[in-house]
Symmetry: C2
Subunit: 141 residues, 2 copies
DNA sequence: GTTGACTCGGTACCGAGGTACAGGGTGTAT
DNA sequence: ATACACCCTGTACCTCGGTACCGAGTCAAC
């Protein structure tokens, strides 16, 4: 298989495959007399492995680790599990951050909607002053 | 105030302030005889506004919009609210994606823990085959 | 034997949000 | 008058995950 075939099969573009090769995610394939890359059957599945791991949130360097772990034997399972658990924790953290943002934004939008009479837009005001508006009316008791 | 004073007051570094100026987030301040930037009192608050908006998830170009809206009058409130609501929706979407990743990862880690006897690490296997392991035992009924 | 699709390596670029450095000028305290 | 901290512009660099372009070589079909 040539690079274009692998790319088509894996749903990637050619540059990306070469990039992965440079990054060490894809082994350098054999070369034909012309210098064209000549991939075996395992190339496309390997690329799909990479895509799936990306979908789970792994970075390319983490994926490089996963690929190494895959090729070592079962002794690597705790390591793999640790990698996944760490990633999970990072995702949780990110979710927490985003949730905090969401809450703050929701409060602002809410305050803006309910106080059509206020002289200043509560959203802008909050950004100016650095505090979130209190949901109900009395903010200075 | 000179740039270093503003930077200190806002907790930013000098390069960043100059970068914001280039990006149009900070107006070009007056210059003293020496060519030094000479900031007014509003500079540091403006920088803090930017930081707060960033904390809420706004990008620098969205913040540029917010700053414009701030300076226009109250007619801009619906626009501001729309901006915030859009951002909120984007955050929600991001949270959904991350949650999906989290669920998938949790399943993998769980499967890996409960099947210490399986020949292959279920995490690696899932990445190889492109499916999430079923939580309980029977996956092929 | 020529056209057209493919491939090669190398390099540059994208966007986002900065950071760093070089080579100069300035402000001020002592 | 001389340190020393500060400022100036301009440019290059960083991470991340690619994408784009270049000029040149190659392969396959007709």
């Amino acid at each position: 298989m040539r690079i274009g075939d692998v790319a088509r099969e894996a749903g990637m573009n050619i540059q990306t495959l070469r990039y992965y090769e440079r990054r060490g995610l894809l082994a350098e394939p054999a070369r034909g007399r012309s210098g064209y890359r000549d991939y075996g059957e395992s190339a496309a599945p390997q690329v799909r492995f990479i895509k799936r791991a990306q979908d789970l949130g792994f970075s390319l360097s983490e994926i490089a680790e996963l690929l190494e772990l895959r090729d070592r034997t079962s002794r690597s399972r705790p390591t793999t599990r640790r990698l996944a658990a760490t990633k999970m924790a990072a995702i949780d953290e990110k979710i927490r951050e985003l949730t905090a943002m969401r809450v703050a934004l929701a409060q602002l939008v809410d305050a803006c909607e309910r106080s059509a009479d206020a002289p200043e837009c509560p959203i802008i005001e909050a950004l100016d002053l650095g505090r979130t508006p209190v949901a109900a009316g009395r903010s200075d008791v």
